[in-house]
């Protein structure tokens, strides 16, 4: 499974702003915005349908802080990449 955690739109992301400026300095003035989040690869045993609801719960409780972050839980398809 993959979990992508991103800062909410209303939360200031100074890291993203610093990277955006660096990208603009390095010849990409087109860059409008950069938001920096987290990417987690999680190996889980068991039936995805059974595991997913529990993973969602942990995404809310531990892996992200709903006050400042949003998350997406994605299934990584077998054999992909």
């Amino acid at each position: 499974m993959r979990v992508i955690v991103t800062p909410k739109a209303t939360v200031l992301d100074p890291q993203g702003a610093a990277v955006r400026e660096a990208m603009q300095h390095l010849g990409m003035p087109e860059v409008r915005e950069v938001r920096i989040g987290k990417y987690l690869e999680i190996e889980v045993e068991g039936d995805a349908a059974e595991v997913e609801p529990r993973l969602h719960q942990l995404c809310r409780d531990l892996l992200s802080n709903p006050v400042i972050e949003d998350y997406q839980l994605q299934r990584s398809e077998e054999g992909a990449e």
């Binding site: 209303t10 939360v11 100074p14 531990l62 892996l63 802080n65 400042i68």
Partner: protein
Amino acid sequence: MKFAVVQFPGSNCDQDCLGALQRIEGANPEYVWHKETSLAGYDAIVLPGGFSYGDYLRCGAIARFSPIMQAVVKEAAAGKLVIGICNGFQILCEAGLLPGALVRNRTLRFICRMATTRVEVAQSPFTLGTPEGTLLRLPVAHGEGCFFANEETLRELNENRQVLLRYVDPAGRAVPEANWNGSVENIAGICNRERNVFGLMPHPDRACEERLGSGDGVRIFESMVQAVTDQRARAA
């Protein structure tokens, strides 16, 4: 009365807190390891600063699930005093005992300096001896101390007078230049609605000795001792 100073793996201000409290009459502080499950024998609880669990994932995110935290939640609900300093504040927010969150400083720099804070509310167990407008000089040392709350939470914090401390300039004005980490509305410390849980980024534990720069932190700890003493007198 007895103070508990909770030690998490990665706490590094536990000794500062214990040392500061040992010099406060009546505080009687003791360490409590984070694997413990009860705080029944204590009247006040300190979550000290540091980098619990290496600040992995988010500051305080993992410490919040330490066994001791269930006891902290229970005792907080029962009305005991809880103070979270720096990383302790981050843990209290992660645990949902305080609203909002602490994010990366707006400047992206780790800030280590003396800050001036202004007491906003005297009616709390943490600010009994400090009338509104009192300036407290307290050191700050953090990379992720920018307080964030959405508009609704911020409105509630202000309406219920839960903001206890703001960063101000030496003249006592909450100006942007004094807002070292970029917190919303210069917020340095907040309490819960019931007023028994207090979180702040500045370190009163490192400001308990005039010779080391400031003795203003003593006033917060003495207020807590006073509050517990008063509460007992009322109950007796």
